[in-house]
Each structure stands twice: as structure tokens, then as C-alpha cells.
Amino acid sequence: MAIRIKDLVTKEKAMRQGHRMCPGCGAPTAVQQALLAVEQPVVITAATGCLEVSTTIYPFNAWGVPFLHSAFENAGASVSGIEAAYVALKKKGKVTKDIKFVAFGGDGGTYDIGLQALSGAAERGHDFTYICYNNQGYMNTGAQRSSATPKGANTSTAPAGKVIPGKIQKPKDLTAIMAAHHIPYVAQTTIHNPMEVIEKVKRAVETPGPAFVNILTPCVLFWRLEPSLQREICKLAVETRIWPVYEVIDGQWKLGYKPRKRVPVEEFFKPQGRFRHLFKGEAGQSVIEAFQKDVDEGWEYLLKMCGETWEPQA
């Protein structure tokens, strides 16, 4: 059945008002959209990070559904344990309802310290959906670099200095790494259009077995971004092909969107203070050029995987 926004707006949200994430932060937007179309009851687990600390400040709790957090690197293992208990208790008739399991981890908790636990959970084939809300850095602890941080970004552990222009390395392609686990559902998306996340997460949750969704969510505070530009910056990430949206369903790669024009990566950088230094001097310019080259190569790879071609308008 097609999802209609009209039907969803009145639905009770899994995560409610009163959380303390920054106004304009992309993470709560992604969480709200993700859980909107899921019809079954859900149990949530989250890795340590901005989302977790800001939604569960004792004695308050923004979650209207069961929620577990235990540490930073173990959301994959936690969701495995919950699902294992569910399977065992359901068999014994001690749990009767059909329940779905969704784990949230930041990019730090997913790309870096939690990758092993996630990989293990995917390999074992538990029935869960893991959502990485990717704000491209360790934001909860003050914007340190992660392996999802873009090349050239100014971070607190890879700062833009007199000699080194921010983070040197390009980000890890985690979505492809998860696709290489040959799990039934993998997707990469962002919050430029609500139906994107709503539909993809619904598909992920309804797919039996492991599913992984990587959602780019702006951190307005440390991207140094005007909060009202939350949606706009995500759109630019897609238009510049820095963050293409696609799915890998049972091994079939499906490109979600092809930009009509070749939009240079600078357009994504310009509204964000974390890239400001790249526009001052030659060193920055060469980072921008290298970045563009990485993006073009990544896009070629994706087109090949999806069996697509691209002819942008001049």
C-alpha cells in the first residue's frame, strides 16, 4: 500500500517532543521520519552519542517506545541480544506480539568503534534494522573527526591549521561495506525529502533479516550551518553527488536519483563554516579539486554497480 503523508501526520511519534537536540539538528528529523511508517511495535536501541544523550536525560525520556542504550560501540550487539531474547521468548509464548527492532548509531558509533559489532550482527543474520544517522563527526564530544568526516572539513582533532587544511583522508564507504555483507537490504539516503527516509526505513524494517540504512543528517552546530538550511544542505549533498541516494536490495544496486546538472562540490561547502578555510588560498583549492575527483570516482563506481549511465545537462 502506498504511504500517504496525510495518514502519517496524525500518527503518534515514537520519539516525542522535549528532547534536547539542537534546533535544526538533522538527527531527530531522521528518527521521526524513519519510524513514522513502521506499523509494527518497535523496540529501539541506540549507541552513545548526541541522539542518545539528548533524548534520555534522567528523569525525562523522549521515547514513547521501549529503549535501550548501554554503550558506544555495541548497538549491533545490543540489537542482536534483544532480537535473540525475542525469538526465544516468543517460541515459549512469553512474548506474543510481532515486534521489530531498530538500532540507531551515529557515524562514530557505526563507521568506527561499533563497526565490528554491526558487522557481526549482520553476518549472523538477526532480524533488525540498523540506522546510522551520519553527521560526519563525533559531535556529542565536540566535533572530532570520524572516518565519515569529509576530506578538508575542519574538526577538533583534524583542525584546519597553518600547514594542514583540515581532515586529510576521504571518508570510508560504509554503505558499500554493508552491501558487501550481502544482507537483504542496504540503503543510503538523507533528509532532503521526507518520503525518502519514510519509505526506505519501512522497506528495511519489513525486510526479514538484517537491514542497514545510512542517513546523512546535518549537525548544524559543528557544520557551522544556519539551522534553517537543514533540508537545503541535504539536497546539495545529493545534487553535488557527494551523498548519492541508492538502495541495494538482495544484491541489486538501484540508484535513487540522478542530478540533471553537474553541480560542483563547492556548492555543498559554501553554506558551512567547517569548509570556510578551503576558500582561502591555494592549499584549500587543491583540497577542493581532490575532493571533486573523489566524488566523481565514487559516482562512476556507483553508476557501474547500478548499471546506469549519466548524461548531465551542460
Binding site: H69, A71, S80, Q116
Partner: protein, 388 residues
């Protein structure tokens, strides 16, 4: 009804787990505890248990999955040693704080370096402030019995804390000896069903585990754990009494051997108590009034029972199978503290023995006893069985 069989400490744990039939086991192999998940996975493969066995990719994930399954409402067990225990360290205090009644077969092994697979207590001693109940066992029978009692103690509503059931790596875990097993239905009747409080899977009554609690609430939450620990000794005694009635096997919090009229007492833990007790017998034959006290319940520390057994001794030797580098050894520190609080001053020697699996012989125990008998007392740490 019961049956006797020749088995190892590890297999005794696995057999207890088969009879307990937990909902979830998540485990990762490490010597010397590997036999436990290996044996148990055979039970799973043969359909002898209903357990959902999660063969995780690390010990960190093992304990994380166990914690998640436990708060979900499942009865959960696992096992590990040394590096595995150390890798789990981060999650232990969290499990205690979430009041997750996990029963854990801990097979003691030394922590590196040098890397060494043999027994000492450095792994579990490093977890002594983690908020778990610690029970140290002398032999395979006791390990088996304690796994079963452990379920009842951990899940008791006044306790709700995870429990380590410790045994000595190789010495107990791999030694085949006669063990008397209960019948499956007796075990089931003894442990009953788990009736979880606030399970995560109760969709209609949602709860959140793992909140952020800062300067305003953290302290109060920790205080509740202190309170829960205070209930352990009472619950332990109730469970042990009921168990003794069923099986005839009695397990007080401290195991005293010929201490009643003893002038000199060795305090020790786990398998080495065997050599110490033998030495008590041979020294008694030679006219020395000596005794041995083995600490079974280490966390919470049963200070009153310990003081009661030690109060009339003229001198004491505390033997630790772990060192606290740069400070007095852990058991020694606790014993001294207990005596001090009771206003009792008894000269006490401190010895470290058996690190990295170094054998502990009756002559090592005799050396410690002779120091007491010959009044060679000193607060300085000494070593038994060490080449200096």
C-alpha cells in the same frame, strides 16, 4: 534422585546450563573456558535445550548481547576468562546498574603480559568493584551447584544483580572428578521461571534503559546498588539452605576447616584450599593447632562471618592468587579491613602465590603456617613458590 559422573569443571558448568536451559547464551571462546560454549553448543545442536545461542564476534559483543537479552526479559548465561573478561570490563558495571541477573561462568586465568593461559585470580579481581556478585568455588561439584544456586540468587527480587561463578582455570576447569548431578526436573523446580521486572519487550509498558544521569541523579542510583548488595548475603543463605535441604550439600559464605580452636589460620580462595586443608591435617597430627578458612562469597564481602571465624586466632596468613601491584594484595586488604572494623588486632601475614598457574603445593601452605607458628610476622608481602 541424582546421578554421579566423572566430569570437568567446565563440563559441570555446561551441564548446569543444559539443565537450566537459559533463553539466551551469547559467548566467545577463550582458554580455559572455551569448553563451556563448545559443550553447550553441542546441546543446542542436538536439540537438548531451547536456548537461542548467539555466537558473537567478540567478548564485548557477548556481554553486550547478554545484557540486552537480560533486560529484554530472558534468562541469560555466558562464560569467559582473562582477556575476554577484560574486554567485557566496560559492560560489567552497566549490567549491574541495569540490574540484569546474568549468571556467568568465570574460569580464572592470569592477565597478560606475559601472555599465559593458566590460573590466577587477576582477571576476576580486576572486576571486584563492578557491582557483580562474586562466588569462588573449590571444585567441580561446587561449580555445578553454584551455577544453579546463582540463578536463584541473581534473579531474587531483592537482589537482581549479575553473578560471577569463579573456578580455577585448568586446575578445576579441566580436572575430571566425580560430580553429583541433580535430575533435570529437580533443577527446573529449584530455579523456577524467570519473572522479569520491567522487561524491554513489554511493548505495552515501555521503559527506557540507559538514561543519562548526571550530577543530579547518578549518586542516588549508585546508592540503590549498594542497597541491593546488602541483601545478597541474606538471599544467598536462604537459597543455600534450600539447596542443602534438597541435595545435602551445604555452602556457607565462608568455608571453615578446623578453625574452631585454631591458633593459626590460613585464609585462601578456590582450589588451593585443598592443599591448605591437607596441610592443616598433617600439621595437626604434629600437634599444631592450625585451620583454614576459604572465602566463597567475595562480593559482597561477608565481613561478619569472616571476623567470627578469625577472631580467636593468634595469627593469620592471607594467601592471594592475585597481586595489586603497588598496594597490598586484594584479599589481604579486605581481611585486614574487616578485622580493624571489628576492633580486633591479630598479626596477619600476606602472601601472593600461584601467579600464572604456578602450582601450589602442601609444602607452600606449610611454609606459610610455619611462619605463623614460629612467629615470623611482618606486614611485608611474601611469595610462595617463587624463585627469587
Amino acid at each position: 534422585m541424582s546421578r554421579k559422573d566423572i566430569t570437568s569443571g567446565n563440563w559441570a558448568v555446561a551441564e548446569a546450563m543444559r539443565q537450566i536451559n537459559p533463553d539466551v547464551v551469547a559467548a566467545y571462546p577463550i582458554t580455559p573456558s572455551t569448553d563451556i560454549p563448545m559443550r553447550f553448543s553441542e546441546f543446542v545442536a542436538d536439540g537438548l535445550v531451547d536456548t537461542n545461542l548467539v555466537t558473537v564476534e567478540s567478548e564485548h559483543s557477548a556481554i553486550s548481547a547478554c545484557l540486552a537479552a537480560s533486560v529484554s526479559g530472558a534468562r541469560v548465561m555466558t562464560a569467559s576468562s582473562a582477556n575476554g573478561v577484560a574486554l567485557m570490563h566496560e559492560i560489567f558495571p552497566i549490567a549491574a546498574s541495569y540490574r540484569a541477573p546474568i549468571v556467568f561462568g568465570l574460569v580464572n586465568r592470569s592477565l597478560g603480559a606475559p601472555i599465559n593461559i593458566h590460573c590466577d585470580h587477576s582477571d576476576s579481581m580486576a572486576e571486584r568493584d563492578s557491582g557483580w556478585i562474586h562466588i569462588y568455588c573449590e571444585d567441580g561439584q561446587e561449580v555445578y551447584d553454584t551455577m544453579i544456586m546463582g540463578v536463584r540468587i541473581a534473579e531474587h527480587k531483592d537482589v537482581l544483580l549479575p553473578v560471577f561463578v569463579c573456578q580455577d582455570g585448568f586446575i578445576t576447569s579441566h580436572c575430571f572428578e566425580p560430580v553429583e548431578f541433580m535430575e533435570d526436573d529437580e533443577v527446573q523446580a529449584f530455579i523456577g521461571e524467570r519473572d522479569p521486572l520491567f522487561p524491554l519487550l513489554d511493548i505495552d509498558n515501555p521503559v527506557a534503559y540507559g538514561s543519562l544521569a548526571l550530577t543530579d541523579y547518578y549518586f542516588e542510583i549508585k546508592r540503590q546498588q549498594v542497597e541491593a548488595m546488602k541483601h545478597v548475603e541474606r538471599v544467598y543463605k536462604e537459597v543455600a539452605q534450600e539447596f542443602a535441604k534438597k541435595t545435602g550439600r551445604d555452602y556457607p559464605v565462608v568455608d571453615t576447616y578446623r578453625t574452631d580452636d585454631a591458633d593459626h589460620i590460613i585464609v585462601i580462595m578456590s582450589s588451593a584450599a585443598g592443599a591448605a586443608k591437607d596441610t592443616v591435617d598433617s600439621l595437626r597430627e604434629r600437634g599444631h593447632k592450625v585451620g583454614c578458612m576459604r572465602i566463597r562469597l567475595f562480593r559482597p564481602f561477608p565481613a561478619a562471618a569472616i571476623v567470627d571465624a578469625l577472631k580467636d586466632a593468634r595469627s593469620i596468613a592471607v594467601l592471594d592468587r592475585a597481586a595489586s601491584l603497588g598496594a597490598p594484595a586484594p584479599l589481604f586488604t579486605e581481611i585486614k579491613g574487616a578485622l580493624y572494623d571489628a576492633g580486633i588486632h591479630i598479626p596477619t601475614n600476606t602472601y601472593v602465590y600461584g601467579l600464572g598457574g604456578r602450582d601450589f603445593f602442601p609444602h607452600n601452605a606449610e611454609e606459610a603456617f610455619m611462619d605463623l607458628i614460629n612467629n615470623k610476622m611482618s606486614p611485608e608481602e611474601r611469595y610462595l613458590g617463587l624463585r627469587e
